[in-house]
């Protein structure tokens, strides 16, 4: 080991890191320590290639959105409404129970129109989003591989049906670090009416170090657990605590310069201290104009939850947060009965906020550097069990779903893939979830094959054996 190098490295870290208080003493001291460098796991890192987007906002539509009622119109469904379908030839081994019995096609209760210069099809569910289609790229041919909610949500988030693998946000921050050292790199904004299955495992770091796990911010009340001390601990008291802690830790460090974690933890406390002041400021709603709040739907109880979180997402990426993931309530889009009512409710809660987010990002010049992704864990069937005809719902469909991208590196107005005439199955340019992952990583400057971490006997990847970047959505 090169001692001068190690020493320089340590001094450099002390100088640039916030825990530089040991520095004055150290400069006059013969440092006999070898591996005393502190490595900040969240320091910004060079991407594999030039990134198109610096941040990503992932809008997660839990439950599975029906493609034929949103962005993939199927006139044939109207024509053959109520027609018995026989899927036995499809060999649908995924959900034999569902497809063993007679099924009836169900026309969409919504009307479609073409919007924008791209002439994109959007149903009456999304009047606001419809005004943004020229900034968006749609993929109608994504297949989910698993038709059970829990497994499918894990697959969407982690690339694996096994609970406890690192999530997409963890992989991204592991690969790229983050630009704002005063805020968490990976922020999760769930809807507390019901959080996703398995809770924090959906944004966990799995076998990656815990530094990469998502930090949950709440949209009501304190945004982070224990961000502020209990009420009786005044800022005077907290200042005293931190001063005393620094002093003790400083003395201890002097005796034990060989343990890099000691400096690391001192740095973590300084970051926490900065977050304590940065987080409330970064998420200060009073700085937003009434018009902005109105546009996100903050004044309407229907749109308030998703709207507030969309606004928070914009504030966070504005401050350099790497990955922000929003969730609708668990299974919210799961319209097995009354698809009209179910999808109307969910679209109402999200349509206006999403459109406001896209326009706000664009207006502030942030859309070019922010990738926005919208998807659920799978699509829905164009039909329903005959015996449940009256319920007018749709079941899980792993064979087709529509997802969309917008922002950094995305080709505006692109339309990729197609489903069959009934919207049952993707038939052209079929992509899997790992291809979506590869595309997100690619746009953020990472090569999915090179982003690896050794665990359990092999180099692991988000995309396992690799994904295919969806080239047609790239600008």
């Amino acid at each position: 080991m090169n001692f001068d190098f190690a020493r320089r490295q340590f001094l450099y870290q002390s100088l640039t890191g916030v825990g530089g208080l040991a520095l004055l003493n150290l400069l006059n001291r013969d440092l006999s320590a070898a591996n005393v460098e502190t490595v900040n796991p969240l320091a910004p890192r060079q991407p594999h290639h030039a990134a198109k987007a610096k941040s990503c906002i992932f809008l997660t539509m839990l439950g599975g959105v029906s493609q034929v009622d949103t962005f993939d119109p199927k006139p044939a469904l109207t024509q053959f409404d109520n027609t018995v379908m026989d899927w036995s030839k499809e060999k649908n081994t995924d959900q034999p129970n569902l497809f063993a019995k007679p099924r009836l096609l169900l026309k969409s209760p919504f009307t479609f129109a073409k919007y924008g210069q791209s002439g994109m099809d959007v149903s009456s569910l999304f009047p606001h989003v419809a005004t943004c289609v020229d900034d968006m790229a749609f993929v109608r041919s994504v297949q989910a591989e698993n038709g059970n909610h829990p497994a499918a949500v894990f697959l969407m988030n982690t690339g694996s049906v096994i609970p406890g693998r690192p999530s997409m946000g963890a992989w991204l921050t592991f690969g790229l670090g983050t630009e704002n050292q005063n805020l968490p790199a990976f922020v999760v904004l769930p809807d507390f009416r019901s959080i996703p299955f398995s809770g924090s495992q959906q944004w966990g770091s799995g076998f990656l170090p815990a530094s990469y796990q998502g930090t949950v911010l709440r949209w009501k009340g304190e945004p982070i657990h224990d961000l502020k001390p209990p009420a009786e601990v005044t800022s005077d008291l907290q200042t005293r605590e931190l001063e005393l802690l620094r002093a003790y830790n400083h003395d201890f460090l002097q005796k034990h310069l060989t343990n890099p974690d000691l400096q690391g933890r001192m740095d973590a406390y300084e970051l926490a201290y900065r977050m304590q002041s940065e987080v409330p400021g970064a998420l200060d709603m009073s700085k937003e104009s009434e018009a902005t709040k109105e546009s996100y739907g903050l004044n309407d109880t229907t749109t308030e939850s998703f709207g507030k979180r969309c606004l928070m997402a914009r504030q966070l990426v504005e401050k350099g947060v790497r990955f922000v993931q929003l969730y609708t309530p668990s299974q919210s889009w799961d319209g097995h009965t009354d698809i009209a009512k179910n999808h109307e409710k969910n679209a109402k809660e999200t349509d206006q906020p999403i459109a406001a987010l896209l326009k706000d990002l664009k207006q502030r010049g942030l859309l070019d550097s922010t990738l926005v992704v919208w998807m659920g864990e799978f699509g829905r069937t164009p039909d329903n069990l005959a015996e449940q005809r009256a319920t007018a719902g749709r079941d899980h469909n792993t064979r087709a779903m529509t997802i969309w991208f917008a922002g950094g590196g995305i080709k505006p107005g692109a339309l990729v893939g197609a489903t069959d005439d009934l919207g049952f199955k993707a038939v052209q340019d079929i992509y899997r979830l790992r291809d979506v992952h590869a595309t997100v990583l690619h746009l953020m400057g990472l090569n999915d094959m090179r982003l690896t971490y050794y665990s359990a006997g092999r180099n692991m990847r988000l995309t396992d054996t690799g994904g295919r970047v969806i080239q047609q959505v790239l600008a």
Binding site: S198, G204, D226, E241, A247, F252, D261, A272, Y273, G457
Partner: protein
């Protein structure tokens, strides 16, 4: 000429096509020679060098020098090397085979089909790993005075070979703290530190180790390491995440096993085949305990509402096969589920042969009366209490429902009642009515859910027994790991790379099960298994020394880490078996070694870190960051509030509503305050509700086997430890305790605080700084803040 060559080629082709199996080649061409020339010494019974030539398998299993033949590769077969005299002594001893006999042996072995794993490039690491350890000679060292037991000799020999010296002994305070946290997971009291520091008797430390090993808190500490490995949790995971009401009995079983120093081989057998084993040590009266031990097989996640039951069962079998490979054998067999293992010598078929041992197993909540140590009468009383309470509260809730429904029914349909009562916007009910409705229903639900926790059941498994076994248990290789890829049918069999055989295992007749798991358990927990003892020795070493001798403790394979001290690991494994698989005996050996008692700082830092930057050779002690549970327990210990009650159903901690609330299928009801002050191992482990503090301090992932905790340093840890209600509340109790112990003098109070948390008095500089920063505060306020600061200090969180 041309034709003759052609003929020759076709003849060879024919003989291959004729398909003489290795067994046939052995029988027809090899056995006659060996029987005549070798069998007088190398036959079953007590064969020379432990090598028998009686069967093909015996040759493959080999003797003390390794497998005798390498099918398809005579040149690399020991047998040939000895008969040719390439290795000494030349065989047969005192004789010589005729050249044509040697030629025939060579041809016969070359004609054999190579075993799958041996066609790969030979790897010396795998040769070591897959062979039973041979007792290594304890190395001689220059500085013999440093050696208190063979561990030191092995460690020092490697250090000396690099020209390095071990660090001086840790000071008494560092040592006593190290060994307390290590063995019982709690800090020593100031008196205990004092007493040890003052005790200069040469056996003081040895006595301390013995005392701590006999302390029941030892089991509570070390069980956690095992629970990490076996992905212990008390709920199913997935959407419903249903409770496993008696899973706590498995946790208590593990604690007891450590405290009683249950021989590890028996511990393994009980968990894999507690219902089937015929081990003499497994007493009849402990049968219920063994049913509980089988819970190991059910600890994985379980998708209770899965649509596809066949797939669910296959997932269960895959999970248990994979986990068993990792936990007991240190092998990533799971990779072979979809294809031949890319790195390790595990063909895909072996994964399914291993899986076949579990193929007759089904989940089963077995009746298992509470053992005396589980306080049966108290459990029964609790059961009755909750049953009564459930009835009373249930009736009250129902009655109130009726009342409300009556009022509601006049102008609404009955079906909508459930929705209306939960919809705060619905004007049919007042806020008070809703509040009362909720609290009544909560009370009823809480009581009802408590009842099954006290049932005398084991969260366990049982086997489908003959004659149904074959139909249920037929196991097939699954192409790509998919049910749709059903391939060749396989029988239960051990890892072929370990046994050198690919024949089915012999399944014993078993009274209660299919006998399959017993066969597997006997193979794993056997002194002859080259992996089992090494793997557990490495795990224990890892916890004591900070890193394993192999740093990938559940992956000893080709992609895993190479052992830093392979001979030491072999010595430990054999010593362990020799000592009757006693875990405590091994603790004692490791902890009393000088290697363990070193300081964490070395005067030779510069030289040593240049030669060995990762400290693999142990030229100093490694640092430990307190694990999440140890941290929480220790805060409770220094605040004086830790409860010592052991065992029983899990405790529900106060957890913020955004973590514990919002679930459709369960509601989180915190336990009473006193129960919440028990050790963390007794807290209820729900997969979808991670305790925020445990989670930020790198607690184990409850869904997959965790063999090594992370020790990260992230900002949320600072929030948790600095600002949480828990820390601040314990700091207040800490302040009260300090005042009680130290009286009103501020300086004495500071001293007592340091003694309680750090086991030492503050320096003059620390006293000055403390007085200065905490000036103008009341004693209570000052000591509360001081408590928070000390809880957060690096000196508390990191052990030298």
């Amino acid at each position: 000429m041309f034709n003759r060559q052609m003929l020759g080629l076709s003849l060879i082709a024919c003989s291959t096509l004729a398909g003489a199996t290795n067994t046939e080649i052995f029988r027809d061409r090899v056995a006659p020679i060996l029987t005549k020339n070798c069998a007088s010494c190398h036959s079953v019974g007590a064969p020379a060098s432990n090598l028998s030539v009686a069967t093909l398998d015996a040759l493959l299993a080999g003797g003390k020098h390794g497998p005798a033949i390498n099918p398809g590769d005579a040149a690399h077969s020991l047998l040939l090397q000895y008969v040719r005299g390439e290795k000494t002594p030349a065989m047969p001893l005192g004789g010589k085979l005729a050249p044509e006999t040697v030629a025939e042996l060579t041809a016969a072995i070359n004609a054999m089909t190579p075993l799958p794993m041996l066609t790969r490039k030979r790897d010396p690491h795998m040769d070591w790993l897959l062979r039973k350890p041979v007792m290594p000679a304890v190395p001689t060292v220059q500085r013999a005075s440093w050696v208190v037991n063979p561990i030191d000799a092995f460690v020092l020999a490697r250090l000396e070979a690099k020209g390095l010296a071990p660090a001086p002994p840790a000071d008494r305070r560092a040592l006593v703290r190290r060994v307390y946290f290590d063995l019982i997971g709690l800090p020593p009291t100031p008196n205990e530190v004092q007493a040890f520091a003052a005790d200069t008797a040469p056996d003081a430390y040895g006595k301390l180790v013995d005392k701590l090993l006999a302390d029941p808190r030892y089991g509570e500490r070390w069980a956690r390491h095992w629970l990490d490995l076996v992905r212990f949790a008390e709920s199913d995971g997935f959407a419903i995440d249903g409770e496993r009401p008696t899973a706590w009995r498995y946790r208590d079983y593990v604690i007891r096993a450590f405290n009683r120093d249950k021989p590890y081989d028996l511990f393994v057998k009980e968990q894999l085949a507690g219902d089937e084993i015929t081990d003499k040590r497994a007493k009849a009266e402990d049968k219920p305990e063994r049913a509980v031990a089988l819970g190991y097989l059910r600890m994985g996640t379980w998708e209770a509402d899965a649509n596809f039951k066949t797939q669910l069962r296959q997932d269960f079998l895959n999970e248990i096969t994979t986990t068993t490979g990792q936990v007991f054998l240190g092998f990533t067999v799971g990779c072979a589920r979809c294809h031949d293992h890319k790195y390790d010598p595990i063909p895909q078929k072996d994964f399914y042969r291993l899986q076949a041992f579990f193929a007759a197993t089904r989940t089963d909540d077995r009746p298992a009366p509470f053992l005396d140590v589980e306080h049966p009468s108290e459990r029964k009383a609790e059961f009755r209490r909750f049953e009564d309470e459930a009835e009373v509260t249930g009736d009250a809730a129902k009655k109130f429902d009726e009342e409300l429904k009556k009022k509601f029914a006049s102008d609404h349909s009955k079906n909508d009642f459930g929705k209306a009562i939960k919809d705060t916007k619905n004007p049919a009910f007042t806020a008070d009515e809703r509040k009362k409705w909720e609290s009544l229903h909560d009370a009823a639900r809480r009581a009802k859910e408590s009842v099954p926790r006290y049932l005398p059941l084991a969260y366990s498994v049982s086997d489908v027994v003959p004659p149904q076994v074959p139909a249920v248990a037929d196991t097939f290789v699954l192409g790509g790991g998919e049910l749709s890829g059903k391939g060749e049918k396989v029988e239960p069999g051990f890892l072929s790379s370990v046994t050198g055989k690919s024949e089915p295992a012999v399944i014993p007749f078993s009274g209660e099960g299919s006998g399959r798991r017993e066969a597997l358990a006997e193979w794993i927990a056997s002194a002859d298994n080259p992996l089992t003892a090494r793997v557990i020795m490495n795990r224990i070493w890892q916890h004591h020394f900070g890193e394993g001798i192999v740093r990938t403790p559940s992956d000893f394979g080709i992609n895993g880490d190479r052992p830093s001290h392979p001979e030491l690991l072999d010595w430990l494994a054999l010593e362990f078996i020799e000592k009757g698989w006693s875990v405590k005996a091994i603790h004692r050996l490791m902890l009393t070694s000088n290697a363990y008692q070193q300081a964490s700082e070395s005067p030779e830092l510069q030289k040593a870190s240049a030669a060995d930057p990762d400290n693999r050779l142990l030229w100093r002690a490694n640092w430990h960051r307190l694990e999440a549970e140890v941290l929480r327990d220790s805060l409770l210990a220094v605040s004086g509030r830790l409860q010592s009650e052991s065992g029983g159903p899990g405790v529900y901690l106060d957890i913020p509503a955004d973590v514990a609330g919002g679930f459709e299928f369960f509601k989180w009801f915190p336990s009473d305050e006193k129960s919440q002050l028990r050790r963390t191992i007794y807290t209820f482990q729900r997969r979808s509700v991670a305790m925020p503090m445990i989670e930020t301090f790198d607690g184990a992932n409850m869904s997959e086997s965790c063999s090594r905790r992370n020790a990260t340093t992230v900002a949320p840890q600072a929030f948790s430890l600095l600002n949480s209600e828990f820390t601040n509340s314990e700091a207040k109790h800490f302040a009260e305790r300090v005042i009680e112990l130290a009286g009103p003098d501020r300086e004495r109070q500071t001293e007592e605080s340091f003694l309680l948390v750090l086991g030492r008095k503050p320096t003059e500089a620390e006293k000055r700084k403390t007085a200065e920063v905490l000036a103008n505060l009341s004693s209570r306020e000052a000591l509360t803040r001081l408590g928070v600061v000390l809880f957060n200090s690096n000196e508390f969180l990191y052990l030298e």
